[in-house]
Symmetry: C2
Subunit: 237 residues, 2 copies
């Protein structure tokens, strides 16, 4: 009556099995693990329903019993790597704990370089996401602020971690995938960017590039950004 999908579209809202008919051959964890394995070596584009089904050793369409749409498969993948967060008791120093959490998230994303691309299209209420969110709130207990503000902190921090790490991964993959890497860096930055700057249209950019020296320390930039975000929530600042 209301269209094709009369069932909640969020996969976490439907039970894993209902207890009728033959028992399912796989768990969601199995499927997620297979998909993650494929994405880890082969990239996100290698994750297709056919491919995942083959990895599991079943027919393509059988997968649709477990995962109604491909988007839900992505959801399972995000949840699966969320399990890699090592939850440990808060130390009492909320800044240190949150920095640790952020660095761990970054490490996970570097381990699964497809993750940032998925992050921005996903629901965010998977079991492991809830677990991680709960843990963050736990770490933030010493901070005297309403929960709404703590939620904003977590959201902001996660956003910064995601965008920064996405950038790191993008640049690293760009230079890795090119056979000319060094030459490309020169050809583009000098011939094009340098060419643009030399037109005089971008005087401040030109000055900025003059000032910059040597390769930039990505982790340093990342940590500094974290500190700044945390500063913004620290009453002691």
């Amino acid at each position: 009556m209301a269209g094709k999908a009369s069932v909640p579209s969020v996969i976490w809202a439907r039970p894993e099995r209902t207890g009728r008919g033959p028992r399912p051959a796989f768990t969601r964890a199995d499927i997620a693990a297979a998909a993650v394995r494929i994405a880890d070596d082969g990239g996100l584009d290698a994750v297709s329903m056919r491919h995942v089904a083959a990895e599991l050793g079943c027919g393509t369409m059988s997968l649709y019993n477990y995962v109604p749409r491909k988007e839900d498969l992505y959801e399972l993948m995000i949840d699966a790597i969320g399990a890699e967060h090592e939850i440990r008791a808060p130390s009492g120093d909320w800044r240190a704990d949150m920095i640790r959490n952020a660095l761990e998230t970054r490490a996970i994303m570097h381990r699964h370089t497809w993750a940032p691309r998925l992050m921005s299209g996903v629901y965010g209420f998977s079991p492991n996401s809830l677990r991680y969110l709960e843990h963050c709130l736990d770490c933030l207990a010493p901070l005297d602020a309403p929960y709404s503000e703590k939620m904003e902190l977590v959201a902001l921090l996660n956003g910064v971690v995601t965008t920064y790490t996405a950038n790191e991964i993008a640049t690293s993959e760009r230079t890795r995938s090119m056979p000319w890497s060094e030459e490309e860096e020169n050809a583009v930055r000098i011939a094009y960017l340098g060419g643009q700057v030399a037109t005089g249209a971008y005087p401040r950019l030109a000055a900025a590039f003059m000032e910059s020296s040597g390769p930039i320390d990505l982790e340093g930039v990342f940590r500094r950004a974290l500190e700044r975000v945390l500063d913004a929530f620290d009453p002691a600042c």
Copy 2:
């Protein structure tokens, strides 16, 4: 010798036309405009090489003369909406100027809701990106800091704008696309999330949801986040 692609993969590094053979029928701007038009009504998934070619009134494979790979089409799209930034002379108040820039970026993204999804896979040195970056550095002239720090400010601010706006768009599209919108919100948040919380496994989350009241003011949250990030760079704080 070195593989299939012996030409720089960044589209901005190759000239728009080379002056031999029949003159091109379209400019990059034409192509970008067509793609943006398609994405605006029809979503990003509607942007296919065939579709864009049809919109331009040419054969599919002709498009490949202008745009070697689809990824480059995305690059053109991002650059095209970057032109919507209205560059105006800095006011002297760098905080106000940067907030204006951020709000404008947010407005552009709300006008082109597919933009955030593209942002994290794109080179970032398109002409209009350079123009915008130059403008930001211009606005930041009154701020006494090295260029490296100003670059970090711009990066952090852009990251925050992108993630926040992406979230806004994601939630708004989720509730829009569902016929049950209100029911879904209840079914999921109460039946599932509430169910999870009721297990007692997430005490802090439970407390947070108890505390939350009424719908949240998205723009308020956004502005607050901006202010916080700027605080972190303001020597007067």
